[in-house]
């Protein structure tokens, strides 16, 4: 089968999943439960994607742990997104020399 047909199907399904809820729900949701639920979704989702997966991504584990710790400490000090992301990345980079 032509690879582009697969790609078209993938793109279509992925777009519909993103688009339908965004366009079908109009205005503020009334239900207190659903509003509460949705307010927690970002945090629950981001954390589920990060832990424990980050420790299994490419790179040496000690460097990854150090990178995560640096990120958490800077985030607790409420440094910006870019600062935290770059610092975590730099830490992992430096550890790749120390502990190959």
């Amino acid at each position: 089968m032509n690879v582009y047909i697969y790609i078209l199907v993938m793109a279509l399904v992925t777009y519909l999943i993103r688009m339908l809820p965004l366009t079908l729900i109009k205005g503020k949701i009334k239900s207190r439960f659903i509003r509460s639920f949705l307010s927690y979704v970002p945090y629950a989702c981001l954390i589920a994607m990060t832990f424990p997966a980050v420790f299994y991504s490419a790179g040496n584990t000690i460097g990854l742990i150090a990178g995560v710790l640096v990120a958490i400490i800077l985030a607790l000090k409420e440094k910006g997104l870019v600062t935290v992301a770059l610092a975590a990345s730099l830490t992992v980079f430096l550890f790749s020399f120390i502990n190959p």
């Binding site: 793109a11 688009m19 965004l22 790179g59 980079f93």
Partner: protein
Amino acid sequence: MKKEFTHGLKCGIPIALGYFAVSFSLGITMVAAGISAAQGTVMSLTNLTSAGEFAGIRVIAVGGTLAEMVLTQVIINLRYSLMSLSLTQKLDPGMSLWKKLIIAFGNTDEIFAVAMSHQKSLTFRFMVGLQLLPIIGWTSGTLLGAIAGNLMPERVSIAMNVMLYGMFIAIVVPAAKKSKPVLIVACMSVVFSCLFRYVPVLNEISEGLAISICTVAAAALGAIFFPVKEHGASADSSKNDTSKK
């Protein structure tokens, strides 16, 4: 008005860099699976999702059916529905349908995360600005990975990859510091996520689906035990929760 767009662009820079690194390795994977650089680039430009594309590549490589492809994509990308649903509560209330149709395209994990941590309601210009560089980074990274995969030093791409996780931490930790409910929801989410990684049978469930289940479970428990106040609808209601304590 113009500021909204440029502000969005600026917020998109770290995402774009992280995407470049991840899609670079995606490009390498594609070529190894027999997909051409052109096909891979089109896939990244039109799909804009790491897990979904990785899974799609596998289906293509084994010559799976289109039904399999649809099922795989639905399961792995289901979390985007939750994100889009959450996003509706933060969008500029007057946003027209066609503008929503455009910004729906780039609602990825990271763009969603940054959008939700944005202090104001989300305008069309901000969202377009926010999505533009990540889309370019994701697509160009795939192309370069596919044609020149072995040129980038591995330790550089590994380090860039961690940037995305760093961003997630930068969004959740300050919110959890201010709001105990957010902290508890985050902790529950880690526990659920670990169950799907380490417990036999559960760890056979695809990562994409596992993330959706963890999200629904932790957020629902949060909503049951810590309902938000009547007027604090969005994710930045965390401040209200602290003052309540």
